[in-house]
Structure formats: structure tokens, C-alpha cells
Symmetry: C2
Amino acid sequence: MNDRELGCNSGGGQFMDRGRMNQNGVVQPLLTDLYQITMAYAYWKSDKTDDQAVFDLFFRNNPFHGEFTIFAGLEECLKFLDSFHYSQSDIEYLKQTLPEGIENEFFEYLGNLTARDVTLYAIDEGTVAFPRVPIIKIEGPLIIVQLLETTLLTLVNYASLMATNAARYRMVAGKHVKLLEFGLRRAQGPDGGLSASKYSYTGGFDGTSNVLAGKLFNIPVKGTHAHAYITSFSSVGELKTRLLKHKQTGIMEDLLEHAIRHRQMLSHVLDVSTEESSEGELAAMVSYAIAFPDGFMALVDTYDVKRSGLLNFSAVALALNDLGYHALGIRIDSGDLAYLSCLAREAFEKVAERFKVPWFNKLTIVASNDINEDTILSLNEQGHKIDCFGIGTHLVTCQRQPALGCVYKLVEINGQPRIKLSQDVEKVTMPGNKSAYRLYSADGHALIDLLQKVTEPPPAVGQKVLCRHPFQESKRAYVIPSHVESLYKVYWKSGKICQQLPTLEQVREKVQISLKTLRNDHKRTLNPTPYKVAVSDNLYNFIHDLWLQNAPIGELS
Amino acid sequence: MNDRELGCNSGGGQFMDRGRMNQNGVVQPLLTDLYQITMAYAYWKSDKTDDQAVFDLFFRNNPFHGEFTIFAGLEECLKFLDSFHYSQSDIEYLKQTLPEGIENEFFEYLGNLTARDVTLYAIDEGTVAFPRVPIIKIEGPLIIVQLLETTLLTLVNYASLMATNAARYRMVAGKHVKLLEFGLRRAQGPDGGLSASKYSYTGGFDGTSNVLAGKLFNIPVKGTHAHAYITSFSSVGELKTRLLKHKQTGIMEDLLEHAIRHRQMLSHVLDVSTEESSEGELAAMVSYAIAFPDGFMALVDTYDVKRSGLLNFSAVALALNDLGYHALGIRIDSGDLAYLSCLAREAFEKVAERFKVPWFNKLTIVASNDINEDTILSLNEQGHKIDCFGIGTHLVTCQRQPALGCVYKLVEINGQPRIKLSQDVEKVTMPGNKSAYRLYSADGHALIDLLQKVTEPPPAVGQKVLCRHPFQESKRAYVIPSHVESLYKVYWKSGKICQQLPTLEQVREKVQISLKTLRNDHKRTLNPTPYKVAVSDNLYNFIHDLWLQNAPIGELS
């Protein structure tokens, strides 16, 4: 891999593997909103360089009308911290861009700034997360911590949204159906496409069509051919090669001849006239089978699935069988997928029986036209014979909710809590430096997430904890946890990544393990039960005292 | 700019300026679907290396329930062609990824492949485009032209969607309201954010908050501060500096003292008690004003716009005025934007009059909370005093339709037309190598886009042309154009970019000029009139003959 392929940041801290991917070169300190830098100057100018701040990164609502979110993007955040540094050309650009009169000392200060003094706590990547429980907590000097905001949000927002979307598709498709991400061409920018491939794999997909994602992230890549391949042939006369070596004997044989012979017989078995079916399609499939005799997977809907595609595919697959090869299956990219997949499966069963090729029963049927969560649910209801979905647009653009809406809020400065009030109670921030725990029942299910002040002792197994709704006074519950999980780990401190980072594969497993701890009613598609997020009694009182202290008292006259 | 900042492709052909931006390093030949490469092998294996193909890149529907689309992304496509080359590590990766048994000669072939033999025709970037009229047409050897598909689609789809979205916001906001793109944190990946900034500027926005976009594309960047800045101060006691130099006299004065004095008087003028308003907010604004005395723009909704923000802002702005500086304005980021903006304008008018500061009337009011096209329309109806909108999530994610859906279809091979049939008439492709013309009326409005076979003579000014609906036999019209525009230019040929590429600024102007040629009824938000796209009589017959030739005849029994 060279620099051309991905602009590269210098790799890693203590736990950064050598083999780990470099970050996309556009992830750099200037990938931020200008106001972060104007604020940095105003802080600097106000002599707040040594102020210590705590920020929470969290979301307020789960996406897709669901009741859970998968946290992803952490590794990218850590790489960003690791490489955080304004280049000389960044500084030059800022000098031109910021208003005149800014002291040179400020630019020197920026030029020397790193994330060394920052401490980052986070939930593990791939874990189920819930509204208002910070997924990342960052402590450190106000200026640098503020400067990280936009980039961290950018890295977490789409990654988590995508992983969550993919996990939802996985849930509705079931464990045994393969899911492939086919969305690159519809993604929001080239890097949007790469992130989509990566985080859909994290969320539970089996692979992608995106070759660069395969190369960069070591994800399985899949793909066969497009309609253009089929339409590029119009007759068997165009075939310049018809010969294929027999897998066992090594003798060259005429694959087309075999295919034409089978096609004749198949036309009776499948009750389709050979004249109706496309000769160009036959030629295309023969040529494709010669190229990939062990990996023959063909698109059957270019002309007509029933009257052309299935006949030609079966003829070529049987021809391959004569030469010792097993075809893989078909892809259907249009039409009524439930009906066509059943039709195809029925055809394969007939062929299996009549031609004594039992493996024909197991041919893979891939479907790939405009599929979303609802389509899969509806196909499940109708009954279908699809083994694999290729999903593009709706997956990668997260059509149902194209942004997660994570925010980054100041909660403490120099040991003093800060609260951001709002007319909208949901938007009031939870002040102060907090710990987060997940309390589990005896059967291993997550019961509740509990936020406390960091100074409080953690909840203990077998002991009753009073859990309170953060804003509704009367909503309270005693919880006796069978297991208590402290949600935060220190991931970055003193300029180093301080946890062994999991591989993408491990994060992907984590997603499924973490989802298993959730009760099914939290995960169902229709009207899922909200998972409870609570605060300790101590934190409850702290929040509400501070709220009253900060909210202006109106005057009516 | 160094390599770290953006992985760089070697810059350009004849017309590629030295100063022009490098492309994001992830834009490379492997940024594609695997099936392009498996198809390439199958074509190669079938000895189709010298086949000549023509592909059309087009969309089938305008986005956002509109009747026009802005074409964008062309420059990126040309850069991609210019740098198209598989690196050694790409080839190694493909060897591992493709099935075994692929001849080494194929990998050598790939290793030597460039886009030299490709010819690319396109509509000008920034031009209004319509469904089914190809925006790009590519001719060349089948294999390379097929290999370009996914990457070109990725580069055009989101760029055009974004530019169209931005142009729509510009239309509803009117000419005089400023529009800023604030979406980086909600964008789909870091590069999604950069594309959003670039193409929203193209579509008619005035600037972005994204600093890297500013640096890379030379777009104006804007921004002030966040709520965190305000909440980081809790009392005036925290101000370590209160002094600011008088702009004219150069004497240091205590800005806080001035502000407190004005605040007292303002509390009567604005009918707000100073005790209700936040002291922390006052401190934050004073410190921010000291940092940016000539660029003081403050967020006024952290606590309460009416009871705190406007009072504190006005106090600090008047204090600045005492020292010879003019404040810029305020930003409102929550609440009822119509009401609050009117309230703010009213307050400013009162202050202007009572304090004899007429420029207070002209203070800028920026609004920035969850704004979309409908919000702006509704604000327009209600009446508002907003001068500038900062727009994030809905703009960059294109919430209403997150993908454009461009496709890339084979229309001719070795001089033979190809048609892709579909049950869905809308999805039938227009076969053959075509020219496209836009016919204008005497008053300068675009009347119709007309596709013809390339062999037909172009329509002539003042001469009657029969324009036919491509699929509905009876829909025909004679058009006598006052001006005929040939839509395609050759942009890439013989390995070189062969047009002087416009700057981003020029593309941005082109958008507005091109939109002006559209009648208003095509552009209106509610039920716009569809713009007509037609085919020549010759092309009509050609399409329908080919269609009948290719569609299988069913048999009922």
C-alpha cells in the first residue's frame, strides 16, 4: 500500500498494530467547523488555556424507529487523536481565513497542539448503546477538547448509523440468509461508500461488492456481472471461445454444444420454448461460465426470468456439470422477488430430479432490487426462496433516517458542572462528570443503563439500587443487578491508545453478542419496548438543583 | 499542501491547471464493484478486448419531487480518468481475491490499462439536466469503459444530488438571503462532508463551516461559536481580560464596564430584568467580543433569547460601539425562528432609535436549527427577519431523497445498438449512440431536450422538428427552435482532458444561468410542470423496432 492509495496519517500508539489501516487522509484537524477554531482563539485570548473540561458525546434518539443503536467509529476517533496536528499549510490557511489582528502566538500555540493531554473514555466499539448515555466522554484542556468536536461527531455519527442499519437488516433477514452490501454507486461520496462497506460488515453483513473496501478492511468481496454483460452478446456466433477444459479429465470440450443440447431438453422440463429465450443471453452465460467455471453465478432477468433466464442458466449449469463443475446460482435484479425466487427454486428442483443432479436443489438465489428492511419483512411474509440479498441504496444512504444526530456537550469545566437548558426537556444535557453502568438480570439480559456521578461508588451485584428517570420525578425503580458492567474504558490517555483495539472481525462479533443481551421486545421491528436509561438518586438531585439554579425565573406583568 | 493532507493522484491532462485540487486518494480504480472486474476478465477471456462500446450515464427521475436536476461531479470524473491505473498492490490484491486459475496475462493486461482509448462526452457541469437524457456518454473499448462504471456513478450521483438540493434551497430562500452549509458533523462520512460543502456551494450556497472544504476548494468559510462557549463561563468574575483597545484612539478600555452600563439601560428599553439574564452569557459574549471586535456575532439562545440573549448581545454590541467597533449580528439555534427573528429585529430597531446607532437596524440574524426546504417555505409564509440560514443535516443527507439513482447502460457495441428491456417501461434504455440537443424559444426559455441518432443532422434554427415522446406513440409535437444548443462536448479524448475546465466559481455561476433558462413552472416547489424530453422520429422508430425484435413473444396455452 502506498501513499497514493490513501493519504496516510502516521500510525499509532502503544496498541496500534502495524498492519492496521491508515486513515483516510481527509480526516485531519481542519476537517471541522470554523467556529471551533474561532472559539479556540477566544478561549486562548481569554486566558482559558489551562481550563479543564469534560465533554459528553451522545445521541438523543435511536434511529429507524428502533430502540437500540450500535456504537461504531471508535477506532477512527483514536487514530484521529493519535495524528492530531496542524500542518504548516493548515496554519497558513488559518492565518488567511481568520480575521486580521490575531496574535502570532496563537498560531504558534495551534502549531504545537496535540491530543496528548486528552483522556478519552468510551463504550466498546460494537456495543449496543442508548439515548443520553454518553458513548464517548472526553476530558482535557478546554481548547483541544473543543477542537475535537466536529471531527469526532463526523466519525461516530455515520459509522454508528450504518452499523445499526446493517444490524437491523441482519435481524429481519435471519441468521441463515447472506447479506451483501452493493451500495457504492449510490453512496454519499466515495468515502461514504467505503464507510458503508466497512460498517455494514460490522453490523452483520457478510461482504461487499466494493473492492477497495475489501482491500482496505479485509472484508469479503462478492460480485458476478451486470446486465451489460448479457446485452453485450447478441448471438452465439459472437462467441470466440467455446472450449473449456474438463475439470477431471483435462480434455477440452465445447461448452456451447453441451449447453445447446441441454437447453433443448430443458425447454420441455421447464415448459419454455427455446425460441422465446434469448440467444445473446445464452452466449453471454456460456462465455461467463468459461471464465468462471467454478464460480458460475448468472443474472437471469435481463430479458425474462421465466422465459429466458432460467432456461439459459440451467442449460449452461448442466453443461458445466458435464465437464465436472458445479454452478453457484443466479441473481434476480427486478420483478416480483418472492414469486420469481419460488419459480426459480421450483425449476431447480425439477432439473435436479430429471437430470439427476441433486446439488441443483441447493443453487443459491440472490435477489438485489431496491431492497430495504420492509421489503425483507414483506418477502418473509409472502414466502420466498432467496438465499442472499444484495442491498444498495437503502442500506448505504440509511433512507429511513439519514443521520444519527450525535451531539457533543460541555458538562463540566474546572470541576464545575455545566448544564445546557432548553425549552425542550429532551435537549437538556446531563451535567457533570459521570460514570455509566449496565445492570443485568440473572438470565443475562440487560435491564437498565445507569448514569451516576463519578464520585459515587459503583452499583454492586445483589444490592438494591434506586434508578430514576432523569426528568420525570415519579418514575423510579429499584434494581437488584445480577451482574454490573462498567461501560467506560480509558481508550486514550497521555498521548497513547491504551486498550488493545479489536479487529473489525472482533467488533463484528461483539455486535451480535451485545445484541443478544437485549430482550427481544427491545429489538422487534414494530413498537419495540424502550430500553430504560436511568440516573442515580444522587445524580437526579444534582441535575435538578443545577437546572433550577440556571433557569431564569420569568416575570409576568 | 502535502501528501498527508489528501492522497494525491498525479495531476492532469492538457487543460488541468496546476493549482487545481488533487483528488481524494480513495478515488482509484479499485473503488468499484467486484463484478466490474469479473466481467472484465470474462470479456478478456472471450476475446472481446477490441470490442467498442458506448455507455450512457443518466438518471430516470428528478430528485425531491422536482422537475430538474443540476449535473455536477464532471471534473472529478475527468481526474479519475486521468489517473486511472491499477497499482502493483491493486493487482496483488486482485490476484488473491479473484478465483484461482486466472491467467497471468489478464493481470498484465490490467496493469497496463489506462483510459487513453476512451472518449467521454458530457453536458457542461452546472447545467440543468433531465431524466433519460444522458449527462455523460462514454465510448471506447468495452473492458475499460465497463470498468469505469461504478466510480463514475459514485462521483456523479451524490455531487448532482447535492448541487440540486442546494439549488432548491437557494430558490426558496430567494436571492438576498445568505445560505451557509453547516452539515459536516451529520454528513455520511468525512468525505461525504467535503462533497456536501463543495457541491452545496456549486448549487448556490454562500459558504460552509467546513474548514478543510474551505482550504481545498477555496470556498468561503463561516462560523462563530457554539453553546459550549457560552456555558463555559458562569460569571463575569471568570473574565481574566476585560480590556479592549479603542479602534480609533488606541486607548485600552474596560469592555465589561461599558457592557454592564448599557445592560442596565437596555433592561428598560427591552423590558427585561437584568437579574433574569445570565451573567455567564454576558461574560462569554464580552470575552468573545474582545477576541473578535470586528466580527462579533453571538449565539443568543443558550439560556433564553428574549430574557437573556438579546439583552446581553445588545449590551456588548453597544459597548463595542463605544470603542469604535460594529457588531455583526446574532445566531438563533432553537425555538420558533419566525417569532424570535421578528422579536430580535424589533429589539434592534428599538436600540437603534434609543441609542442613536442606526446600523443596529442592519444587524444580521442567522438561524440554524434543523432547517429544510419546507421550513424555509413556512418561515416565508409566516414572515421572518432572518438574513442568513445555516443548514446542516437536511441539506447534506438530502433527507427527502438520499440518492439520485444514476445508471450506466450499454447502448451500443461494435456499432450494433443494444437495448435493456424491462416490464417497467420507464426502465427500458434508449439504444444506440445518440446526440442531445436543447431547443430554445424566442424568449430564451428551454422548450424541450431532443435525443437523436448521431447520424441525423442537428435540428436547425427556424425549422420545424418533429419531437416524439420516447414511449407514447401519440404524444408528438412540432417545435420550431429559435436557438439550438448541442448538449455534448468532448471532455476527454486520447488520454487528455480536452476542454478548459471551469473553476468551481464558474460552475456555480453556470447553475444560476442555466436555471434561468427554465420556465418558472418547471421550477416551482408544488406540482411543477414536467420538462419535455423527446426523441426524433427516426430515433423513435429505431427504438421501437429494436424493442419488438428483442422482446420475447409469449405463448398462452
